[in-house]
Symmetry: C2
Subunit: 360 residues, 2 copies
């Protein structure tokens, strides 16, 4: 158990943008909201999963919608507390803590905002260890847990409780509904007891995000090459450095899909690369060779500063470094690959472990 204040939030936001692998929503506004909330209501208690009672009930809170929308339309505090109160009322539970559904991007910070507003602890755990675009793409589902009942609220005060027959149906119906709810909503789902969270969640991911953020800050101050330093510290792989020569992005059916083409710079001069994304970066190809695929993490950093860049933030002409990080082992199972591997996203290729992986 420890306290999360303004500095911790600063680092978590930065690290969450790396773990967001281009998606999960820009953490910037979430960071400001979380910092404002702890300033006003005091630091938030962070519990390790082991500190949650086996019988205690917890619930996740997150934003849902295309990042292209959430970057401009962030959830209000009323929307956040309203969604939590809706699930509380529906389930008739007194939740002992909240937790992030995904640690990548904006969704790492929404639980901290709620924790501050409601004075309840946040658990250092998530269901992805990164960001993914769909409801059922969490390790909880690999373990047979379900998202229902799923509360959804929008900025206007509309709310609904979804009881789909499984998490894929909650994704389908929820995604369809949010289209008329302004393109983004706040969601509370995957309510479960402590014992299930411990078994099915990925532990310590808020702390991981914080450490990544801290590393980026530190290397910037000591004048090291931030990309090399970060890759070394995280046990990741430097996949490519290049300049954005082509960028295609379509926001459709509640997600942002597209591709990025790169001309190599620095040690990659003369080579080309391509990144495919659907909210998150999913495939990295250097020349003709696929060097990284989902569910491994493909993150884009600014070539000079090492600061993460989202698929929304990317611009023509950006000089970027592409790094790869190994996903959590739960994703490398047959069911994991089936749920979030390249074929699920419509790419005609099999998952292949990160090229040059060191086994961080």
């Amino acid at each position: 158990m420890r306290k999360i204040g303004k500095d911790e939030i600063e680092n978590i936001a930065l690290g969450a943008a790396v773990l967001g692998t281009g998606g999960g929503g820009d953490p910037y506004v979430g960071k400001l909201m979380a910092q404002l909330a702890v300033e006003k209501y005091g630091p938030v208690t962070l519990l390790s999963p082991e500190e949650v009672d086996d019988d205690a009930w917890v619930v996740s809170i997150s934003g849902m919608g295309a990042p292209s929308v959430t970057v401009e339309k962030v959830p209000s505090t009323n929307e956040i507390t309203g969604t939590f109160e809706a699930i509380q009322k529906y389930a008739g539970k007194d939740f002992a803590a909240v937790y992030p559904y995904e640690v990548g991007g904006l969704n790492s910070l929404i639980p901290i905002v709620l924790g501050a507003l409601k004075g309840i602890p946040v658990v250092d755990v998530d269901g992805m260890g990164r960001a993914f675009p769909e409801v059922q793409m969490v390790t909880f589902c690999l373990d047979g847990l379900q998202s229902a009942p799923m509360a959804m609220s929008d900025d206007k005060g509309n709310s609904l409780i979804l009881n789909g027959i499984d998490s894929v149906w909650n994704e389908r119906i929820g995604r369809q509904a949010l289209d008329v709810m302004g393109g983004s909503v706040t969601v509370c789902d995957f309510m479960m007891q402590g014992r299930d969270l411990k078994r099915a969640g990925i532990h310590g991911t808020l702390t991981l995000a914080e450490n990544i953020g801290k590393t980026i800050h530190e290397v910037r101050h000591v004048g090291e090459n931030p990309v090399q330093a970060l890759v070394k510290k995280l046990g990741g792989v430097h996949l490519f450095s290049g300049k954005v020569t082509h960028l295609e992005r379509r926001t459709t059916e509640g997600v942002a899909k597209g591709e990025v083409k790169l001309d190599g710079i620095d040690q990659y001069l003369g080579q080309t690369a391509r990144l495919d994304f659907k909210n998150e970066f999913l495939i990295a190809t250097v020349g003709e060779e696929v060097v990284a695929t989902t569910p491994d993490l493909i993150s884009v950093l600014d070539f000079e500063t090492g600061l993460p860049i989202t698929t929304e933030g990317l611009r023509y002409g950006n000089r970027i470094a592409v790094i790869g990080l190994s996903c959590n082992e739960k994703w490398r199972t047959e069911k994991g690959i089936e749920t979030v591997g390249p074929r699920y996203f419509g790419y005609d290729l099999d998952y292949r472990p990160l090229k040059g992986e060191t086994g961080a």
Copy 2:
């Protein structure tokens, strides 16, 4: 208080198709379901609104979706009881009775099916006195009552509880969601207490449907011209008789929109007419003159038999009679016309009372 058995259901279904003004779903399969249910579980108790205690809670049950879909995909008994149990559980109420949200079409029969399955009474009331395509198009809304909480379930077992900020938002979100739920769902909404139902509902409409059905059956047996006999008995207006020469129908955004063109027959020989519909027939034009507009009822009957024909059942070459019936006075108020008048449906014309109205 009286009992509804197989014969009553036969007549209600026929009359409901007339009041359905082309929409509301074909009552045929609903009739078979209701008859099967009363055969198995015994007749259903029909209460007049006055027989419902002021403090007792009641709720409506109906199908929602384009008639083009419901004609092939009718709700199962599991879907019907499941939706009712969902609203019961969510609201924590023990409902004293159920009632039809709209008397026109299939939705007059769903409450009877539920009443038989659950052994609870049905109230002789509805919120339209006809059929309309959208959630908020009920006299309850003219009186400030709301549809929320609105339970929706599909055939697969998916269900949701909608708490839109008003009935228009429940319509918008629900309509959007049902698109991925197979195009049609069962809905329980407008839960209210007896005193509100008495004040805001249209009384005696199931009995009205039954009487219309009885009349059609009777006149067919005595060999009268069924259209003339029906118009006379109902105090309606015979607007046109003609042959369908053009029929255009598009199912889009969960509703069926289109138009019908007619060449006059019998006393209308040499004239032409046109009907515009959006699930229901909304505008009738003879030559250049608009002779009937929503919210007055425009019903299409088979020219020979007097049997009602839905917008879905209509075919090129059909010989039909078009009749007009005055709507309930609640719809002729400013707010009523705003809610369901021609301009709401996108027609550039004002409401005009039925041509040749006798004031039935």
